[in-house]
Amino acid sequence: MSSGLIFAITGVVLFAMGSAGMLLVAHLLRRILAFNLMGSGAFLILVGLAQRGGTPDPVPQAMVLTGIVVAVAATALALALLRKLHTLNGRTELPRVEDD
């Protein structure tokens, strides 16, 4: 098994953990962390899977750099909104949806 494949498999585990966290965790800060875990998992898969043959591939590496910046932007936005919510009503969780 090549090291690229090991990275990819680790990525799958991280992604699964992150997505479970997105669905299960109520505290928004922890949910933001879960989103980042998902993202990191996807990035590891993108780079690892492409390099499973052993040769480095600059294309997914560049894509991951782009992806990281996008993830930073999304995380900053989420933190800003969370902070705003906290100053407005002192809460760090979303109210339940009344979907009846």
Partner: protein, 218 residues
Amino acid sequence: MKTAAIVIGAAAFAATMIAALLDLPPSAIHLPRLVDANLPVSGVTHPVTAVLLNFRGYDTMLEIGVLLLALLIVLAVGTHDGADAAPTADPMLQTFARLAASLMALVAVYLLWAGARQPGGAFQAGAVLAAAAVLLHLAGVLPAWREPGALLRSGLAAGFLVFLFVAMALLSQGTLLQYPHAAAGSLILLIEFALTISLGLILAGLFLFLSGGQGSDS
């Protein structure tokens, strides 16, 4: 009940996917060869920088847009205008932070310059610059940012604008972001230089605009 279902679902998902990964045949297309073949005409010698700023430069342009957009939203959502918490005025710490920040600026310049040939480039350089600003803020040297004035706004948008302007200027020869071979290196350096400044400001802004006001955390 719900928890158990989600955990089992996630584990099953991971197991199925890992099994599918293990018997994946090699891919039909091998891009690294294409990247290597076109590297001499890309204007830089490092393959990742070549992909980022030349082969897939359009992605990078949009991505700077996303980052600028995130900063805009942070401003739109509103930073609070409460009083700043008193800065921690430890002279020792502040002197050290100033020293470290100037060294970090030096590192940023090096990273930018090195990016053409080895790992590095505008993103890394911008991140180091932003970290220096955050360090100065935490040490109480640099106050939190409020509503940005015209100068700061120009600095925040400069990188994206230069990128956009180069894209528009190059359109005169018919293709979006197609650098003339002779000028590719210098155009990429120009874009990277503007990007470094703006990325540094934006990333610092994401911290410093939020840090102002009530509940200020030190």
